[in-house]
Symmetry: C2
Subunit: 377 residues, 2 copies
């Protein structure tokens, strides 16, 4: 079977590497001259609204998927008239617009931080009265890795925030002083079979994921609640493939922050740490194969991102627990260029090793590039 | 770093798939128009003695390796004057010639079945008197998967065997009524660090590996003896990369049958079952990186080859313990087209599951293709 992938970043690359052992071929479509996935599979160079190139991909492929959530919905719909597109284009439409996403969660009974739509300055101040401070002002579209949002601590922050973001459709959200940020990855097959990987605890630095720890720890009830919410979303969308949902845990509360209709950075640990990786199960789902089990293969798995540049491999690989993934991208501040996953087989080992690993893979604070980077997650 | 690989079969393919996460690029040289590794990396089409194509590979690559043991020694030596070639060409010379190989084992104090060189018919009958019956008559070069050898049970078999194989340099070996056939895979880094995976028990059908079971079971002393023998070989050859050694276990005796200076079919289980796969450690070794640990990640791992054609994937993947590897090769009798590895996390589980798996992945007896197949192992 031939799989067409919109987007040729590291997620596309790892999808292709997971598709090969199943005997499938992949091709990515990406506007860049040398996206990193093109090192491991054929590449059609084209914009995501270049219908000639999209036609070429649809002719080649038996099934089409995507590795980023900002694929134009019109593109996904146009392709889906030619070949099966998974996840369904509707998932893109919901995931791309923060207001639609929050309203979707609310409609399915999934708790979220309190939110208000904001279009005018008057809306903004009305929303502030309703939501209170602190709060977060966000653009509705194209936000990722903390971009397109401003935290409002006090009344003084508000005019500046409006100057920076105002004029576009916005959203004002309650600021959650969360205990932990969690994510749940779930996968649904074409036949409607659903599996969830364990909850993961994520730490961000400068708005970019720094570390994921699996399993997150916490009650079985917490996991079951998250899995139940995930099932509602998957079924409502008649979803096929991997879906990531990010949560704030605030005491006993579990509040949905956002979802991504794709494989996700916080699931990279599954390559070594789970019985089936997120990449393999995404490929199995979209090609109509049965899903593999999502349980842990090891006691714990910890993933750290490499941001900006890849550390010296020989030093990292001295750590016997480490598996390295280098994406073949050139160095650039703020860019995700690789990750490392460390596994523990001994349940006692994590407490001893985690502080060492945190130090070994510490990331120096990095100031956001004002130009913004490419759309990679 | 860029890795050139001589041979574009499934072993080259799996080497490339292991090299990508480390950020390396691969290119295979293979005379076939569409070798299966060419689905996952660039391919230079050329014979193994086409020096123009070899030059092209050497220009492109930073380091060169090979996936089969019948690479012409002259080719490996010629390349090694241009770029580092690992494993060293001398390992090819030893592994290609059964008499040299046995003499090499003997010189290092590694026990083997009794053997005699045979060139003439008079040698043959003299050797029979020395070795006795039953015995095995073998060609010295280009044997694999049981090809190029005849078992002699009684005196009546001898004239026919001579008719079939005589006229070439041969070897007569004692027939070992072995309890078990084992293999040990070991890896040595450029700095001389050595690691061994657990001993594996192999079952063959029609001379082709059918099932590998890891770990083989048996005493720690048996493993240590095999590992000690492997170290002698690796150090004597100043070896870099993965080496496979096949053994007969005859009661307390461990007799070396043959070695292969490459990754090996009996090590495919390491992808899912070991902390570091044979493919990744081969890549780490030849690129000068530290080796990863070779211990088991699971309690047991069992691998079955798919010979001739790949069974229906959706049926296999219903088995939650199964990980499938399809090589992207067309179906042909006797051809290795894929494998499946099954892992158990519960130490008790194997006894219950193994008979089911043996039945699920049973191979029907297959008559050897008289034309012979391509040189794949």
């Amino acid at each position: 079977m031939r799989i067409g992938i919109l987007g040729g970043g590291q997620l596309g690359r790892m999808l292709a590497l997971a598709a090969y052992p199943l005997g499938f071929r992949c091709c990515v479509l990406d506007p860049a001259a040398d996206p990193c996935a093109a090192q491991v599979c054929p590449h059609i160079r084209g914009e995501y609204d270049d219908y000639q190139k999209l036609y070429e991909l649809a002719q080649w492929a038996d099934v089409i998927t995507y590795e980023f959530e900002n694929v134009p919905v019109a593109t996904a719909e146009w392709l889906s008239e030619r070949k099966p597109v998974y996840p369904p284009p509707r998932a893109l439409a919901v995931g791309q617009e923060r207001l639609a996403e929050k309203e979707f969660f609310t409609r399915l009974g999934i708790p979220t931080p309190q939110y208000c739509a904001v279009e005018t300055e008057a809306d903004f101040y009305a929303a502030l009265r309703q939501v209170g401070l602190p709060a977060v002002l966000k653009t509705r579209m194209y936000g990722y890795d903390g971009k397109g949002q401003v935290v409002l601590q006090s009344a003084e922050d508000c005019p500046r925030a409006w100057l920076r973001l105002g004029g576009r459709p916005l959203l004002l959200e309650e600021y959650i002083p969360f205990e932990r940020e969690l994510s749940l990855l779930a996968v649904r097959s074409r036949e409607g079979q659903i599996q969830c990987w364990p909850l993961v605890e994520n730490q961000h630095l400068d708005g970019i994921l720094h570390r994921s720890l699996a399993p997150a720890g916490g009650s079985e009830e917490l996991f079951e609640r998250a899995a139940d919410y995930a099932c509602r979303i998957l079924e409502e969308l008649d979803y096929v493939g991997v879906l990531a949902i990010e949560w704030f845990q605030d005491g006993p509360r579990l509040l949905a922050n956002e979802m991504a209709p794709r494989v996700h950075n916080s699931g990279h640990w599954t390559i070594e740490g789970a019985r089936t990786s997120q990449f393999e199960n995404h490929i199995r789902a979209i090609t109509g194969l049965p899903l593999g089990p999502c349980g842990m293969l090891t006691n714990h798995a910890v993933m750290y991102n490499f941001i900006g540049s890849v550390p010296a491999l020989d030093a990292i690989l001295q750590t016997p627990e480490a598996s390295v993934h280098v994406y073949g991208k050139s160095a650039r501040p703020g860019r995700k260029v690789g990750h490392v996953t460390l596994i523990t087989l001994d349940p006692e080992e994590l407490a001893e090793k985690l502080p060492q690993w945190d130090q070994l893979f510490a990331r120096r604070p990095y100031r956001e590039n004002p130009e913004g980077g490419p759309s990679e997650s």
